[in-house]
């Protein structure tokens, strides 16, 4: 079956060819590399010849607490004690700083001060991109030649991403954005636009507007690791585009499968409690 992106012929024998090529490279590193293939990746490929990203993945960091470098901090809910405290982290922002415009920097600080009432995660709202990627939950990539589906355990969020050029401007603002994917060699590039202004990037109040544009890059490092990068652009909030990056790790458990974190039922009392019929009077 011809590969749509590179025009190379790629059916299962190509896998064997790739293995041989890998072997040759190992023997003679200077002997040359495939045009479209990263020299580092020797993991499995799909029938269409692309790196096989099918599987269950998860970040292993504290970006969900704060994208920037941060020390450990006490819990926002006293009763949670150490179990609710923020773990320290090195941060995932290239250059460590997020280039907020001055008024936006003030809003981020205000968001952080009102985290428990203002963070959409507390209400189990859809997480947006890139936050869905590094929440402390697994997500599954389902890779076909025409579509890449990303299914997130948190809130059953999902994205069905056509592997195609963007056909039209986003038709409506959405929580998870309007995404199109393409392959850049062995890197899956996902272009996301059409966001609403209601999601955050982390629990530290980092935010964006409806002008957000995210370009994600999923570069396989091996069978079991992907380097994830997201370039974040939003001229209403930031002075320039900025970038986060982190590895994602494959769940290796033999019985790994996405479970449910349908958190709506965990926030109904919080959101609707005062509207429940009072019977015991």
């Amino acid at each position: 079956m011809p590969d749509r992106m590179t025009g190379k012929l790629s059916i299962s024998p190509v896998r064997a060819a790739a293995m041989i090529a890998g072997l040759l490279l190992a023997i003679a590193p200077a002997a040359g590399q495939g045009v479209a293939r990263a020299p580092g990746y020797t993991g499995p490929r799909t029938a269409a010849g692309k790196p096989d990203l099918n599987g269950i993945w998860q970040a292993l960091n504290t970006a969900e607490w704060d994208l920037r470098p941060h020390a450990a901090a006490p819990p926002a809910v006293l009763a949670m004690g150490a179990a609710g405290a923020q773990p320290a982290g090195l941060g995932v922002v290239e250059g460590d700083e997020i280039p907020y415009k001055p008024e936006a920097a003030a809003k981020q600080k205000d968001n952080a001060a009102h985290w428990l009432t203002a963070d959409p995660e507390v209400k189990c709202f859809l997480p947006g991109i890139p936050r869905a990627t590094y929440m402390p939950f697994p997500f599954q990539i389902v890779q076909t030649p025409g579509y890449i589906l990303m299914a997130y355990e948190y809130a059953s969020a999902s994205r069905s991403i056509p592997v195609a050029a963007r056909k039209e401007a986003p038709q409506a603002d959405s929580w998870m954005g309007d995404a199109y994917a393409r392959w850049d060699g062995d890197t899956l590039v996902v272009d996301v636009a059409g966001f609403n202004e209601d999601t955050w990037f982390d629990r530290a109040g980092d935010f964006h507007s409806d002008a957000l544009h995210v370009v994600e890059r999923y570069t396989p490092l091996s069978r079991d690791a992907i380097q994830y990068e997201a370039t974040i652009e939003d001229p209403k909030v930031f002075t320039r585009p900025w970038k986060i990056s982190m590895p994602l790790y494959r769940h290796l458990e033999k019985n790994a499968q996405l479970l449910e974190f349908k958190c709506v039922e965990f926030v109904e009392q919080l959101m609707y409690g005062p509207l429940r019929k009072q019977t015991a009077k």
Partner: protein, 326 residues
């Protein structure tokens, strides 16, 4: 250089494959010519992939003893569209014309076209329907924006009846437009490959396992949490808000019957709810032009907060005031 050799090799393979494919599909007899064979995925399985819809005007059940088409048999059964339930709209508009011929009912077994509900199930349903304004827990999981459940997620409602199916070796994935749920179904014909989750782990949508019976994908789902409902939209009339217990065993069958059609069948076995297993059958129709958009639900569930629950509290207030002679 190696690329060229590979290309030759692949070319020869392609010729061989094309030859064998032609041999397979060449009709042996005129009768065989009529038999349509589903296309295959790269790993040789029937290809169910695509975007499918089921805008369908067929009543869920045949008319009951009461007579009129789809009319409830008792007064309490009229409650599915109780004003203020936040669900009336499901009956009022559909955003697409029906695409398939109307049948007598979606329920095809038993032959009566009626679900043999137990008195317990009817009582549970009636209690929930008369208390929808008291608390979220009496509403269907769909109104709560948790899930439409399995199999209910594929029972057509008035709108957003879109489903995308993707396949990779060893799994079939169904993306349900409503509540943006991706259902990953491990598929294997070796029973020991992926046993069901332990009985102690239960989910809203259960734990599905698939296998192929000929060209039919058969999916068995168990491990339900007992908090869902067997059907959630007003279009399911008498069945809406009927509970689904932890013991429910759901067997779905997906069969490609033509270039643009999948026959979907589901058998629901839940003895506390219905006296015998019952079956629903309906076609799914391919619609490549159908675009699945994000089904934002919980994020803007204003009807639920303001009309269903908020409206309920306003009624309480009015009743209290009336009681005080105000």
């Amino acid at each position: 250089m190696m690329e060229k050799q590979m290309a030759k090799f692949v070319g020869v393979l392609a010729l061989i494959a094309a030859g064998s494919l032609a041999a397979q599909t060449r009709p042996a007899t005129p009768a065989a010519a009529k038999k349509w064979v589903a296309p295959r995925t790269s790993d040789g399985k029937p290809d169910l992939q695509g975007t499918w819809v089921n805008f369908d005007s067929t009543p869920f059940e045949r008319p009951g003893p009461g007579g009129a088409s789809g009319a409830p048999a008792s007064a309490s059964e009229g409650a599915p569209v109780a004003p203020g339930s936040g669900n009336e709209h499901a009956l009022i508009f559909t955003d697409r014309k029906p695409l398939v011929e109307q049948r007598a009912s979606m329920v095809v077994e038993p032959a009566s076209g009626r679900v043999p509900l137990t008195p317990w199930a009817e009582q549970q349903r009636d209690y929930a329907l008369t208390h929808v304004q008291d608390s979220w827990e009496y509403n269907t999981p769909w109104e709560r924006c948790i899930t439409r459940g399995i199999p209910a997620a594929i029972f057509p409602a008035g709108y957003n009846n879109g489903y995308q199916i993707l396949q990779t070796p060893g799994q079939v994935v169904i993306l349900y437009e409503m509540i943006h749920e991706a259902r990953v179904i491990p598929v294997s014909n070796t029973a020991t490959t992926r046993p069901h989750l332990p009985a102690s782990l239960r989910l809203w949508n259960g734990d599905p396992r698939g296998h192929w019976e000929g060209d039919t994908l058969v999916v068995e789902t168990t491990n339900f949490n007992g908090r869902s409902m067997i059907a959630t939209s007003a279009a399911t009339a008498r069945i809406r808000s009927v509970p689904q217990t932890e013991n429910a065993r759901i067997v779905e069958r997906f069969t490609r019957t033509g270039p643009d059609e999948i026959q979907y069948e589901v058998t629901i076995d839940d003895s506390k709810v219905a006296t015998t297993p019952w079956k629903v059958a309906m076609p799914l129709v391919r619609d490549n032009s159908y675009r699945i958009f994000e089904y934002m639900c919980h994020e803007a569930n204003q009807d639920f907060m303001e009309i269903t629950l908020g409206g309920g509290r306003l009624k309480d207030k009015a009743a209290e005031n009336a009681g005080n002679g105000k």
